[in-house]
């Protein structure tokens, strides 16, 4: 049987969430986030950004990814995610490590050698 997580909403009414569906959505977003970090790291390396500008580019791409995910889920994001803020901030640092890895790699390949 699938597990069910009851949570009370603002009105005090109980809503049961399906844990398998939540985990499925979160892992899908996680996949997108890792890909986004790698690819935007590549782009930052190609563009030759350095210093603070590269980190600003990372913030920008995280924000763009957030907007794209919300756009995909449509107007009813509440149907798929419990809150939007965790969608934006989840595993921010882990993706940053991936980003820096690809950024430095591509920067070295294109601009240094």
């Amino acid at each position: 049987m699938q597990r069910v997580k009851p949570t009370s909403s603002k009105t005090g009414e109980l809503i049961a969430y399906s844990e398998a569906a939540i985990r499925n959505n979160i892992s899908a977003v996680e996949y997108c986030r890792t890909s986004m970090a790698a690819i935007s790291g590549c782009a930052a390396g190609i563009l030759g950004l350095n210093g603070l500008l590269g980190f600003l580019f990372y913030f920008l791409s995280v924000f763009v990814l957030w907007l794209l995910v919300l756009m995909k889920s449509g107007t009813h994001w509440r149907k798929f995610f419990i809150n939007r803020q965790s969608l934006l901030t989840n595993s921010f640092m882990g993706a940053l490590c991936t980003y820096v890895l690809f950024w430095t790699f591509l920067y070295g390949m294109v601009h240094v050698y």
Binding site: Q2, V4, K5, I15, A16, Y17, S18, A20, A21, I22, N24, N25, A28, Y31, C32, S35, M36, I39, S40, C42, A43, G45, I46, L47, G48, S61, V64, L65, L68, V69, K72, S73, K79, F80, F81, I82, L106, M109, V110, H111
Partner: protein
């Protein structure tokens, strides 16, 4: 289904475009080094190509990952009948006394220990 194929093709094209932009940028750096000019910024077409292919790749990755599932548990359960939900395979019983009602049932006449205990269970 056709949509995902289009997305995959676009994803591959975006990656190829990104690689091409990287190659162009490297080429430009080599050109600057050979002509002994100072590097200030990349030409605009490489920048545009990189940014556009980045956006294309991210968009297609999100499309490929599949649709999100509805997280409310009731939505998932509404489509199922009680026969599906109340199905517990661990509680299946096949050997019970109801088989005596069958027209092809032949009562066993045995005096062995195992047969006796089986008859005890049946009666």
């Amino acid at each position: 289904m056709a949509n995902t194929i289009v997305n995959k093709i676009l994803l591959v094209a975006g990656f190829a475009s990104l690689l091409h932009a990287a190659y162009s940028a490297a080429h430009y750096r080599t050109y600057l080094r050979l002509t002994e000019q100072e590097f200030t910024k990349l030409p605009l077409d490489i920048v545009v190509q990189t940014v556009v292919s980045l956006i294309v790749v991210i968009y297609n990755v999100i499309q490929i990952v599949g649709n999100f599932k509805e997280i409310r548990a009731t939505v998932d359960m509404q489509g199922k009948s009680w026969d599906t939900l109340g199905n517990f395979p661990s509680f299946y019983t096949f050997n019970h006394r109801g088989k005596a009602l069958s027209s092809t049932y032949v009562p066993e006449e045995e005096s062995s220990e195992s047969g006796k205990s089986k008859m005890d269970l049946i009666s």
